[in-house]
C-alpha cells in the first residue's frame, strides 16, 4: 500500500476541518487518517484495554497525556472522612483496585475515589482545565462528546481503540460528514439546554446523525453557559453523532482561564488567539444544515425507551394505531408503551413517578444543581430520590452554597460524585417496574437497573416532578398552578 502526504483542504474551513487538519499525522491512500490524541481519559471499564497491552508486552506511549478517573463504579454513599472507612462491596472494591493497579503499573495519573479532584470524567476534564479548546479528547465512553462544548474534538471509543491510543497516542479515523444545527433566538424562562438537546434528538432521530459530527451554532447556543453547552454536546451521541462541538468564544476563554491545568499568562493569551481562530468560516460548507427557533422549544421529556421518544411535557403518549405509514415505528411505540407501563393517548402530565435522580455527566454540574434547588427550595418531594454531584469539586461548591441542605430538607438524599444511577453499575439503581424522573441521558430498557423505567428531563423538571409526584411543567409549578 502506498501513502500520500497530508495536505489541508482548499476553501473556507469549518471548526471541525480546523480541528481535523491540526491533528492529522498521515493519510493513507484509502482515505483513513492517523490522528494525534491530546487527552486520553480512562475509567474502571478500561481494564480490557490494559489487559490487551499487557498481553502484547507493550507500555503506555504517553502516560503524561493519560488520566485515569474513577467514576463508573464508585459508591455515592458513605464516602468522606467524617463517615470513617467505607466498607465497600467486594465487586466494587475489585473494580477500584483494578483501576489503581493498572494506573500505577503503567505510570498513569490517577484520581481515585478519595481524591479531591475525583468526579465524572466529563465533568472533571473541563473543570480542571485538562480539556482545552482545540484538543482531541477520547475516552472509552460514548458521552465523551461532552468536551466538544469547549471547541474540542471529543468522541467515545471502544476498548480496542483505547488500547491503540494507550500504545501509540494515535487513532485511525475516516473523515466524517459535517452537520450544523443552528438554534436562533432566546430560550423562554424555564427552558434549558437539556430541553434543547431533547428537542434536537427527537427532531434528528436516534440515528439521524450517524456518520456525522455536529457543530452547534446560532445565537441561542452562543447564549448558553459553558455548562449548558456541555449538556447539549453530551447528548450528540443520542442522535448518532460521535461528537458535537461549539466554536470557542469569549465565554469559553473566560471559563478556561485560571483552571488548574490551563495555560497561564502570556501562554494563555497565545493559546486563546489560536482557539478563537478555530471557528467556522462563514462560507464553510456543511453536508447537512438544520435550523430551529429557540422560541419553539418547550420543557421536554421522554416517554419511551430511546431518547428520540421525546415530546413536550404538555403532549400525550403516541398512539401506535395512528402510525400506519411507518410499520417499524408503530411496532417500537407499542413495545415502548408496554415496557414503560403507559397507555396510548394518555397525558404525559398524568404519569406518576416513584423516584427522582439528579446528576450525571449530562446534568451534574453546579448550574444544574442550582436549577433543581431553586425549584425544591421550601418545597417537599413526594418521592424518594438521590442527588449526585458531577464531581467532588461540584459537591464542595454546592455545599458552600447550601444547596445540599435544600435537597435534604426536601427529602432527597445528598450523595457523593459518580456515574451513579445514570448507568446503574455501582449499586444505585431502580427496582424492576419503578419509574424515575431523571436528569440523565438514556432511557433505554434496563438502563437504571433491570426492568427500570426512565423519563429524561432537565434538572428543574425533575425537581418539579419530585414536588408533584408526577411529570409536570415546571413553569406551571412555579406559577402555583400545580
Amino acid at each position: 500500500m502506498t501513502f500520500k502526504s497530508v495536505h489541508g483542504l482548499q476553501g473556507p474551513q469549518s471548526l471541525f476541518d480546523n480541528l481535523w487538519n491540526s491533528h492529522v499525522i498521515a493519510e493513507r491512500e484509502d482515505g483513513a487518517c492517523l490522528v494525534w490524541v491530546d487527552r486520553h481519559y480512562l475509567q474502571e471499564g478500561s481494564f480490557h484495554a490494559f489487559n490487551k497491552i499487557r498481553t502484547r508486552g507493550e507500555r503506555v506511549a504517553r502516560p503524561d497525556l493519560t488520566v485515569a478517573i474513577a467514576d463508573h463504579y464508585v459508591p455515592t454513599r458513605g464516602r468522606g472522612a467524617a463517615q470513617g472507612p467505607l466498607a465497600l462491596n467486594a465487586e466494587l472494591a475489585r473494580m477500584m483496585d483494578q483501576l489503581t493497579t493498572n494506573a500505577r503499573e503503567f505510570g498513569v495519573r490517577l484520581y481515585d475515589m478519595n481524591h479531591p479532584w475525583q468526579g465524572i470524567c466529563h465533568v472533571v476534564g473541563p473543570e480542571l482545565g485538562m480539556t482545552l479548546p482545540g484538543t482531541l479528547v477520547v475516552e472509552g465512553d460514548s458521552h465523551t462528546s461532552t468536551h466538544g462544548a469547549l471547541g474540542a474534538w471529543a468522541f467515545g471509543i471502544g476498548a480496542s481503540e483505547v488500547a491503540h491510543v494507550l500504545m501509540t497516542q494515535t487513532l485511525w479515523q475516516k473523515r466524517p460528514k459535517r452537520m450544523r444545527i443552528s438554534v436562533e433566538g432566546r430560550l423562554a424562562d424555564g427552558v434549558t439546554a437539556k430541553d434543547m438537546a431533547l428537542t434536537i434528538v427527537a427532531l434528528v432521530g436516534a440515528d439521524g446523525a450517524v456518520g456525522h459530527i455536529i457543530e452547534y451554532a446560532g445565537s441561542a447556543v452562543r447564549s448558553l453557559s459553558i455548562e449548558g453547552r456541555m449538556t447539549l454536546c453530551n447528548m450528540s451521541i443520542e442522535c448518532g453523532a460521535r461528537c458535537g462541538m461549539i466554536a470557542p468564544d469569549e465565554s469559553t476563554l473566560k471559563y478556561v482561564q485560571g483552571r488548574p491545568f490551563a495555560p497561564k499568562g502570556v501562554e494563555f493569551d497565545r493559546a486563546a488567539e489560536q482557539w478563537l481562530a478555530l471557528a467556522s468560516h462563514r462560507d464553510a460548507p456543511f453536508d447537512r444544515e438544520i435550523s430551529l427557533q429557540a422560541s419553539d422549544i418547550v420543557p421536554t421529556v421522554t416517554w419511551g425507551t430511546t431518547p428520540e421518544d421525546a415530546l413536550p411535557v404538555t403532549a400525550t403518549v403516541p398512539d401506535p394505531t395512528r402510525l400506519t405509514d411507518l410499520l417499524s415505528k408503530a411496532e417500537h411505540v407499542r413495545d415502548a408503551i408496554d415496557y414503560m407501563g403507559l397507555s396510548a393517548g394518555m397525558r404525559i402530565t398524568d404519569i406518576s413517578i416513584d423516584r427522582v435522580f439528579i446528576g450525571s455527566c449530562t446534568n451534574g454540574r453546579i448550574e444544574d444543581l442550582r436549577a433543581a434547588a431553586a425549584v425544591l427550595s421550601g418545597r417537599k418531594s413526594k418521592v424518594p430520590g438521590l442527588v449526585s454531584p458531577g464531581s467532588t469539586l461540584v459537591k464542595i461548591q454546592a455545599e458552600q452554597e447550601g444547596l445540599d441542605r435544600v435537597f435534604t430538607a426536601a427529602g432527597l438524599e445528598w450523595g457523593g460524585s459518580g456515574c451513579s444511577m445514570c448507568v446503574a453499575m455501582n449499586g444505585d439503581q431502580l427496582e424492576a417496574g419503578q419509574r424515575c424522573a431523571s436528569t440523565t441521558n438514556r432511557n433505554f430498557k434496563g438502563r437504571q437497573g433491570k426492568g427500570s423505567r426512565t423519563h429524561l428531563m432537565s434538572p428543574a423538571m425533575v425537581a418539579a416532578a419530585a414536588v408533584a409526584g408526577r411529570l409536570v411543567d415546571v413553569r406551571q409549578l412555579m406559577l402555583g398552578n400545580v
Binding site: 482515505g31 480490557h48 480496542s160 491503540h164 430511546t306
Partner: protein, 210 residues
C-alpha cells in the same frame, strides 16, 4: 485477526429499531472478566431474551431452536446505538455472530465490530424488510460475500454497503496497531513539531490547585 471473506450461516431476524448496546450487553455484567471458555456469550441479550422471572422466552428469535448457531443477525435501523461498550461486540463474537445486517449501525459499535472481525453490513430499509420477511420462518441460511458486497438468500440477492477502509481491513484481517507501527517515525516527528505549534496542548505535571 482472522480475515473475513465469505460467510454462510443461519441468519436470525431481530426486527426492532434502535437495539442499543445496553440491550445487547446489560451494564451489570461489564465487571466480569472475559476469560471463561464461552467468553461473554452467556450475557448476549441477557435481559431481553428472558421473561422477568428469568426463564428464556421461547418467542425471542435467538432462543428458537431453528436459529441456534446463527452467525448473522438482521435488524432494523440503528443497531448498536448508545454506549461505547465493546463488550456488546465481544458477546456477539463469543456467541459466533460474525455479521450484523441493518440499515444503520451506531458509529462506535461499527468501529468496535470491525476491530473484532465482525462485519457491520448496511442495506437500505426496503431490502431490510424483504430480508426480514425471508427469515421469518427461522433457520434460514444466508451467504455473505464481502469481496462483492453481496448477500444471497436462496435465489434472492441484495447488495450491501461497508466503508471501503473497513472492507479492506476485514478482507485482510489487518490489525490497526500493526499498521500504525509502520508510522512510528512520522508520529514522533509530528509530535515534536506539534509541541512547538501548540505548546498549550501538553498536560502540565504540576497543576495549580486554585
Amino acid at each position: 485477526m482472522d480475515p473475513f471473506v465469505r460467510l454462510r450461516s443461519v441468519a436470525c431476524a431481530l426486527p426492532q429499531i434502535n437495539i442499543d448496546t445496553d440491550q445487547v450487553f446489560p451494564a451489570r455484567f461489564m465487571k466480569e472478566p472475559r476469560t471463561a471458555p464461552d467468553g461473554y456469550s452467556p450475557y448476549l441479550f441477557h435481559d431481553v431474551r428472558r421473561s422477568p422471572q428469568g426463564a428464556l422466552d421461547p418467542q425471542f428469535p435467538l432462543n428458537k431452536s431453528s436459529n441456534q448457531g446463527a452467525g448473522i443477525i438482521v435488524a432494523r435501523r440503528n443497531f448498536g446505538s448508545g454506549s461505547s461498550r465493546e463488550a456488546a461486540v465481544y458477546a456477539l463474537v463469543d456467541a459466533g455472530v460474525r455479521c450484523v445486517i441493518a440499515p444503520s449501525h451506531g458509529d462506535i459499535f461499527a468501529a468496535n465490530a470491525v476491530n473484532n472481525g465482525l462485519l457491520p453490513a448496511c442495506i437500505d430499509e426496503s431490502h431490510t424488510e424483504a430480508l426480514l420477511a425471508l427469515l421469518e420462518r427461522g433457520g434460514v441460511e444466508v451467504e455473505i460475500d464481502l469481496d462483492s458486497c453481496r448477500i444471497c438468500v436462496g435465489t434472492q440477492e441484495f447488495n450491501f454497503e461497508i466503508d471501503p477502509v473497513w472492507r479492506i481491513r476485514l478482507l485482510n484481517g489487518w490489525d490497526d496497531i500493526d499498521m500504525t507501527r509502520r508510522f512510528t517515525d512520522d508520529i514522533n516527528a509530528w509530535s515534536m513539531h506539534d509541541a512547538k505549534l501548540r505548546p498549550w496542548a501538553q498536560l502540565s505535571a504540576n497543576p495549580t490547585s486554585g
